[in-house]
């Protein structure tokens, strides 16, 4: 299911980016959350977005999925401009956003949450559900339980599962390990590796730098709504500025 539509990097010459953000500026009222942010994600990559609290990581994802509209700049997905589309149109293109804090439908069952993930898609869901239940077996056991009654880790799996119901080409993951016990962090990291192996492109926001850089190919460090450092994950892991960004520098 996941390889559906995912582009592979072109072997000769420059790979065509799947997603590009170019000089994106976003305001919340008078607060400028992003100031001319530029980044790109290549097909099949896992890209980490790092940075301290309030750096603009979530806002970047929200701009891509259409929850906030940039005041200026361009966001292109497979060459198509996203900045004027609404979230429904963007999710139809195959961009799924698993938001910060999970944002499940608490009074609905696991199954209903997953079905709603496929809201814009017609057709049978059995195969998608099977794949998600194989990825997170605990969700299969709990499928008739209300989402609000799940443990934190289970809720995170469900949030990821709901996003996967889109059959995303690009998955936006916002702090999937936030507040989870170490065993659950391992579980979520394993799932991201599986998705990556299936060819899903992932833009990953993580506060847990170690986890993020172990999963990612490349990363960007944000500070005050702009990119201050970018590079391969291995290089970033050794970079002093990365640590500084996390100390609120």
């Amino acid at each position: 299911m996941m390889e559906h539509g995912a582009l592979r990097p072109v072997q000769d010459g420059e790979p065509v980016p799947l997603l590009t953000l170019q000089g994106v500026t976003v305001y919340y009222g008078r607060v400028r959350a992003l100031q001319g942010l530029t980044l790109e994600v290549l097909p099949g990559e896992v890209v980490a977005l790092l940075g301290g609290n309030g750096a603009g990581k979530s806002t970047t994802l929200r701009a891509v999925s259409g929850l906030v509209r940039p005041a200026s700049g361009h966001i292109r997905f497979r060459g198509q401009e996203l900045t004027r589309l609404d979230p429904a149109a963007i999710v139809r293109l195959g961009v799924a956003h698993c938001p910060e804090g999970r944002k499940l439908f608490p009074e609905m069952t696991v199954l209903e949450n997953l079905e709603l993930g496929a809201y814009v898609r017609a057709g049978r869901l059995d195969e998608d559900l099977r794949q998600i239940f194989d990825l997170f077996p605990v969700l299969r056991e709990r499928r008739h339980q209300l989402a609000g009654s799940l443990s934190g880790g289970e809720q995170q799996m469900l949030a990821i599962g709901r996003a996967l119901m889109v059959r995303p080409t690009l998955l936006l993951l916002d702090e999937p390990t936030m507040g989870l016990a170490p065993a659950m962090v391992v579980e979520v990291a394993r799932a991201i590796r599986v998705l990556r192996a299936r060819g899903t492109t992932v833009l990953l926001v993580e506060q847990n730098v170690q986890v993020a850089l172990r999963l990612a190919d490349r990363g960007y460090v944000l500070e005050n709504g702009r990119v201050v450092v970018e590079g391969r994950a291995e290089a970033l892991a050794r970079d002093d500025r990365v640590r500084r960004a996390y100390l609120g520098g």
Partner: protein, 290 residues
Amino acid sequence: MDLTTILQFTVNGLFISAAYALVALGLTLIFGVLHIADFAQGALYMLGAYVSFYATQALGVSYFVSVPMAMGLTGALATLNGALVYRPLQRHGGALTFVAALGILLILQNVALWLFGGDFRLIASPFGEGRITVGEVVLTHHQAFVLVVTALLLGGVWMGLRYTKPGKALRALAQQPEAARLVGIDSARLGLAAFALAGALAGAAGALMSAMRAFDPHIGAVVILKSFAIVIFGGMGSVPGAIVGALVVGMAETLTAAYLAAEFADLVGFALMIVILFARPQGLLGRVWA
């Protein structure tokens, strides 16, 4: 209190509860999905009664046809309110939509006064004076009809919310609006669907009740204040809360009228609302979303 009296109160109380339940269900849906306290629904109740009254009286339409006619018209009016008044105002915060709702209620009330006059009216029930008597408990045919139709409407809405795709989308929107947008739910369109549904329910309530109880253009204001108290009592945005609240208030009103004084009956709903606000601010069946 003997069994006959208890049963008779139950019947009378249920009948009052039916009207409240229909209006309160619409209010709680609109509140849950859009966070608007749509007091204009009271005017739609009143207009539903007038549509049925004139359709049967002046146009000779069957009462059974006049009820869906009323629902269609009030549903359409509610949708127009939603699209033309509330949606443009909602961007500027909740207080404005509340003032607008009161404005629409008053405007429609005065238009009705101007068009229909201030006389009390009563829709002629097709059931006439027919009644079912079980022992000494009396249930008029019209009451029975209202109870059955109300049960069907409430059951239909409940099933729709539970099992249909738009119903699930409405619940999703009420529970977690941001995630609802992320999965591609069109909140503007579903919001209008909530208005249409609520308006139709209010119109149905007006047409159903007003063959038993005389009405004038001011009926809407009375009904909406009580229904709103019921929604607060049951829990703003809670569907079971609206229905349970309507039952509790309908019964309590009947008992108060019988054992205290009829003048106090209208206060019961508000008293219950105030008590619950102290004891359980989210309402009887309301939730505090994390």
